[in-house]
Symmetry: C2
């Protein structure tokens, strides 16, 4: 406790790894870079040997591609593979792909099962098999079982190292067992109770164990497990369970209710982060892009979304083209029409954002669905009315045409009504169909508000002014 | 373990509280509602007494306003206030405001300090003082101290109940102390070591304690605390620390380095959720809105954002108005111009989404900033070129005018370039100015892409075709 700042970690040579904002410190980074440039392996080891895997991960992300490669080459067999689990998926894959399979096998050997799975799961089938073949047989069997579970399932994320005891043991026996066993998991906060067929009976938290007297039977202090997870379950569902019941860890069982692993909250924190990030990125139309992706990868991943957007923009243009002679006779319509479309787009985005989040956090259910939908429609109509007056007045004065103000006001009410309705119904519909409401909502919604906006405004104008 | 589904919890009367999707089960809900309608307090108690606070919270959120009030009136003093901590902020405030202060004081008495703070912090000053005055003096002092810390600080979120021992104690003494003390915190996974002045020296995790022999001195197994938190620190920084180092709990110290509380991962999980939710909502222009807000609250909160959007839309209209005679002579321009603006808006949103997330997770730092900016510009130019060809060809064929295709292609490259540049520079600039990049980015960015898009397309067309 020599420093006022919790994020600062002192190394033996008194160099701070992170600055006051929690980022990798410039001074430290410069020294590491100098060591790389001078190919000074000894200095590099000294600088990095005490790093937490998270600090090591951030350091690797801070390097440019060349420094990164040199850094790994210099550390060679002293590089701790656990740092790889802290990296973006795409960067991790890039690094692992560049290493010889034997080196990866050696590195993976040292890891907990859940960390090893993270490194292996994204690799090419062939490389993965080659690496698995070089692992001790027990490790290989455990890892293969984890990898056989679906992507993003509890079975993939679980740790297969845990402590399980028999129900007839006493507290004393259990404590002695833990004192004598060397090969325990690194950290744990509960022990599990299983029957002879390895079926989960319950669990005992460490604080309960500590507070109980030695002769107490485990069954007396055991909690019957209310919240456990099946290995096939999706990580998003699992994270909801953790959040809902404030769990620190949960048992994972297979289809025969046998205990096969344990999920801990630190893995779940990553999942919560991933899922929220996924929603934000999908709403923004950028897929699984990471900041470390190359230019070409990024161009490709964004192209699809822009292409979809182009189709909807062309549809909107086609609607405008229906009224080309109207516009020719009254060019003020061309000037004002983006206002109608843009207000609708914004109102729909607001509704959609709330709807997508509420669906992701299960805040919308059959009990409140009708209430939520009618609330959105009412909000849309009220804001529609307010902006109809505002925009109508502005347009009326601008073009000294009171009728034009009336027409744009009416078009705004219509478009904001459809914006509210589609902003809530499209996400609900996509969820019902089993699609992710975040991924496709914004493109559908912009289409609706553009098409309705242009059609309502230009159509009303053509009819009102008789310009067909 | 009678059920295959981990989310299903059996009550004594064999009624499932949640369905297979993890939502409150319709059958259960109907029974509760019937009990409310029949004002059958006994049945209601039986139905709800075993509920976890999270289940109780979701049940309350599922009710309509009238049922909610009746439910609380019927349960009266048997209502467990911890369920309130599971509700949306605005709904919780509404419920607490409707209850007499004496009832709230009674309810708060039973809670852990961190839960009590959540209920008290949003109340009117006057009500809060009245409630605090009715609490036991020790509780009052602790709560007041927590409430004196800034909003969203570690001091607000921390639990003031923890176990701290002296460094010269042995493992045996510590275990005996825990066995004999009744008033321990409900759950804990580490104990702290303090000096006589209450300054934090270190911590011992429960698994280490369990694995050590009774005569072992605490100092021998104590970890010097590397990661701790000051009470004034913002919860977002704290959550980064938890995530980075996979912490389960962290000590909170005051300005004199005295141990004042403990933060646990379950509170941090809520923070992570809140912060991600805040980003999503700000990007979508909906502020702190909750699904339980009333229509009027929602209209008001969304109005501001729509009004800002109106200003930018009027600016774009003004740009179009500069070229009204051009459009009059060539109405195809009015038909095509939304395509240029919309593609730019989308490309900018993509860049901005990645930038805002990367800033929130500190993935952008001084080491990679230049690399990130030039990557975005390059991506924008490449996609700009691709869509210039595509859109140019479409426009050329549609209006049988090859020159129009050239003009729209050039306008697209220009707009996508500015889209990429503003998509990355505006968030970076806002962050530099100390503003939240998420809150204002999208409005600035749409303004840029609309204005540049219309100006580039119409301006180029006016010049190329000589239509001024």
């Amino acid at each position: 406790m020599r420093s006022d700042n919790p994020a600062e970690i002192a190394l033996s040579n008194d160099l701070e790894v992170r600055d006051e904002r929690g980022l990798i410190a410039q001074d430290y980074f410069d020294q590491v870079e100098a060591a790389i440039e001078q190919r000074d392996r000894e200095l590099l080891l000294e600088l990095t040997q005490d790093l937490h895997e998270a600090d090591m991960g951030d350091l690797i992300e801070a390097f440019g591609p060349r420094d990164r490669q040199d850094f790994l080459d210099l550390l060679a067999e002293d590089f701790d593979f656990s740092a790889l689990t802290e990296l973006d998926d795409s960067l991790r894959l890039k690094i692992v792909d560049a290493l010889p399979n034997e080196v990866v096998a050696e590195g993976v050997k040292e890891l907990d099962s859940d960390d090893a799975v993270i490194i292996l799961e994204d690799m090419e089938e062939e490389d993965r098999e080659e690496i698995l073949a070089q692992l001790p047989v027990m490790d290989r069997i455990q890892l293969k079982r984890s990898l056989d579970f679906p992507e993003d399932s509890a079975g993939r994320r679980m740790q297969t190292e845990f402590i399980a005891v028999a129900p007839f043991w006493t507290v004393g026996q259990t404590i002695d067992y833990m004192r004598e066993t060397i090969d325990l998991p690194d950290e744990f906060n509960q022990i599990f109770v299983i029957d002879p067929a390895h079926r989960l009976l319950g669990s005992v938290s460490l604080d309960t164990l500590l507070r109980s007297r030695r002769p107490t039977k485990i069954t007396e202090i055991m909690d019957e497990t209310r919240h456990y997870v099946t290995a096939e379950e999706d990580q998003e569902e699992v994270s909801r369970l953790f959040e809902r019941y404030d769990l620190l860890s949960a048992a994972v069982v297979d289809e025969s209710e046998r205990l096969v692993g344990v999920l801990t909250i630190d893995d779940i924190v990553d999942v919560i982060h991933e899922e929220a990030e996924e929603d934000i990125k999908r709403l923004g139309g950028v897929g699984d892009e990471e900041i470390t992706d190359t230019v070409i990868e990024t161009v490709r991943s964004r192209f699809t979304w822009l292409a979809v957007n182009l189709l909807t923009a062309i549809l909107a243009s086609w609607v405008i083209a229906l009224f080309d002679s109207t516009i020719e006779q009254m060019v003020a319509l061309a000037v004002l029409m983006p206002i109608v479309a843009s207000m609708g787009g914004n109102a729909a985005t607001q509704t959609m954002t709330v709807a997508v989040r509420a669906l992701a956090t299960q805040e919308i259910d059959s009990f409140n669905m009708m209430r939520v939908v009618s609330r959105e429609v009412l909000v849309a109509l009220l804001n529609g009315a307010a902006f109809a007056v505002l925009v109508g007045a502005i347009a009326g004065f601008w073009f000294e045409n009171f009728d034009l103000g009336l027409v744009i006001g009416a078009a705004l009410v219509i478009n904001l009504f459809f914006a509210g309705l589609s902003g809530i119904l499209i996400p609900l519909g996509l969820e019902k169909l089993g699609a992710d409401p975040a991924v496709a909502s914004s493109v559908f919604i912009t289409t609706v508000t553009d098409v309705v906006g242009f059609f309502a405004f230009l159509g009303l104008a053509a009819w009102w002014f008789g310009l067909v």
